[in-house]
Symmetry: C2
Subunit: 425 residues, 2 copies
Amino acid sequence: MVYYPYILIGVRKMDLLYGNAVVGQSGGPTSAINATLAGVIRGMKENLSQGQIKTLYGMRNGVEGLMREQLLDLGKAFDTEEKLQLLEHTPAAALGSCRKKLPNPTEDETFYENLISIFRKYDIRYFFYIGGNDSMDTVAKLSAYTKAHDYEMRILGIPKTIDNDLVGTDHTPGFGSAAKFVAVTVQEIIRDCAVYQIPAVTIVEIMGRDAGWLTAASAIGRVVNGIEPDLVYLPERVFDMQRFYADVRAALKRHPNVVIAVSEGVRFADGHYVGEGTQTGAVDVFGHAYLAGTGKALEMALKAEIGCKVRSVELNLPQRCSAHVASGVDLAESVTVGKHAIKAAGEGISGHMMLFERVSDEPYRVEVKHSDVSVIANRIRKVDDAFICASGNHVTDACCYYLLPLIQGEAGSIYENGLPKHLIL
Amino acid sequence: MVYYPYILIGVRKMDLLYGNAVVGQSGGPTSAINATLAGVIRGMKENLSQGQIKTLYGMRNGVEGLMREQLLDLGKAFDTEEKLQLLEHTPAAALGSCRKKLPNPTEDETFYENLISIFRKYDIRYFFYIGGNDSMDTVAKLSAYTKAHDYEMRILGIPKTIDNDLVGTDHTPGFGSAAKFVAVTVQEIIRDCAVYQIPAVTIVEIMGRDAGWLTAASAIGRVVNGIEPDLVYLPERVFDMQRFYADVRAALKRHPNVVIAVSEGVRFADGHYVGEGTQTGAVDVFGHAYLAGTGKALEMALKAEIGCKVRSVELNLPQRCSAHVASGVDLAESVTVGKHAIKAAGEGISGHMMLFERVSDEPYRVEVKHSDVSVIANRIRKVDDAFICASGNHVTDACCYYLLPLIQGEAGSIYENGLPKHLIL
């Protein structure tokens, strides 16, 4: 991990590279990925590259659009402060996204040769890719290829994912907003569930296939107002049906309205997803195989086992696109990391991913740094052991305190006639 | 329908009735039902009953708590403006709710005799019930019984339902906030769906068993920014599977990202719910019968028929409890209607439901009135024919313009440490 302002400026500042830049968005959308794009544009407009970058192009639908030369002059497209602010409050990827994983250069060199010829055609010397794990893989491969083939280029990854599962960074841009949506919505669901006196279990299914960060965010209320789900299950722990029944029975003895947060990615000891329970054999009257999901599978199992009222709520897409309840901290950090990427590239950094290092908890303070992307890509950061209760059915206070700063501040969406205003390119 | 300030004050103002009052919340929660409760308390504190009401009690869990004499002195509980404001921004029913439907007096007179003895014990002469259709039935029955048995009382219903399906009122308190949640969330989902270029269908399932008002709200964006779902299906029209397939195929020809809003209550010509498609015969590997829901049933059917990527999102509980994105207009009107109920009761009105009459569209303006509850209870207000397109797969501009004023203004939630603050009694 390199802290560039002091160490690197001295080494590289003579090493100027003039040319154009291209920025793309990739992978699943978040509420803050456009804020990062706005940060990159702001960094360009504020000339943080010290005049090295001339034109900043946006690639439509990530590298797929780049291959088709679908490029947009972002300096021209964002010619007013108002447009940049709108972009910062627009969910999903304004440039469009893709899920393309780059081939290995040894398998498909033509792909890379085509890319380089497009880079030459548009004099592109700077490449910024905003995305998750697959995008960092793209950055690593492209970085290695251009270096090996003597095409001088500065290539930087800028993280985003609601899953918070990238290694090397305190947290990922986009996660705080998704965490805030989950925390706020679970608080509201708990209020909703409290109105009746008959025993009832409500299961809230939260995104996170491999890491339980977002599910853990359902419990942040504990350190704010004492209100949290009764039980929280993360994919980091084996899910045991009998222990689950026992947990729920114990919770129902404490009070009638039990609320459970469960990650979509929880698995049984044999490695099968809990949600797979309904994937095998189940067919509807149309004769179609049925895929239920984790919450629904647990709902059905609990109904049969305990017999009380059970319902499940899958938070689904709104987790990653509810920009109206985005975290102010997340949006601001997402802009900042975009600006810093322009600065770092101007200072000669390449093949790195931008990241946050938390330098203080109280007051919360992070520094933007960067690190070699090849040691980051294709790895998954799980929820720390210290953040999960020994019983495996809840998170610790330390987890809540880690998460709390990330959901601070309100989105400040721009409303027009009752609806949030979005920017559409 | 009676416009009380001019007609009734003159008739009844001599007819003073001194005593205590009780207020309860009943039926499913909404984001605004507590705002109405706050309005009733404000009406009491502002002495809109002209000194006739001494103490205002809250009944815990509606008439069920009343029967157990679980009463709370609301004047004492809400002794600060801050608490009232918090109540107005707290979703669900702060007093608790119930789903009790009162027996017919001819079948169970003991029930009513017990009630009257509790009224006598606490000197209760005013009864306010905030709720939906079943609550208006309670008001009608109690009103008829007390009148027939010479217990002088003033009984008023105050509507609330996210379904907007009560007759006699322009709209129901609570609906605007749910409509705003739906409109905002569908706009965000449409953004999320727009990022990829591969053909994909996203089905959003929206609450509304018998009336499609809330589903219609998904299309409000049309008259704000031109963004709306491609197709909107309401329970007011027979759902035909073949026509649905044809609609989706046509939409996919126009653009790759098709978004569909569908009411949970859509039915086939034979009267069966579309969601029932998966209720018969389908079992999971635990051997449990499976109930899917409308969106999931359509997702599976589309996958089999068209074969493209299909997913479904059930908006579920957040529709009725997402107070953080409540409509400012709805919250303000909900407070107002509560205050007016105290005023109307003070003027001698009984056996009526409070209601809104829209007196102007531009600028939007409603007057609070009231009408005999016996002609309102147990009826369902469907979406007007003029609000549904001839093709039956979308709503008209007139529908959007009817809905638009109801989602104006932002909630103004009170945040503490990143989370909305709720009042818990």
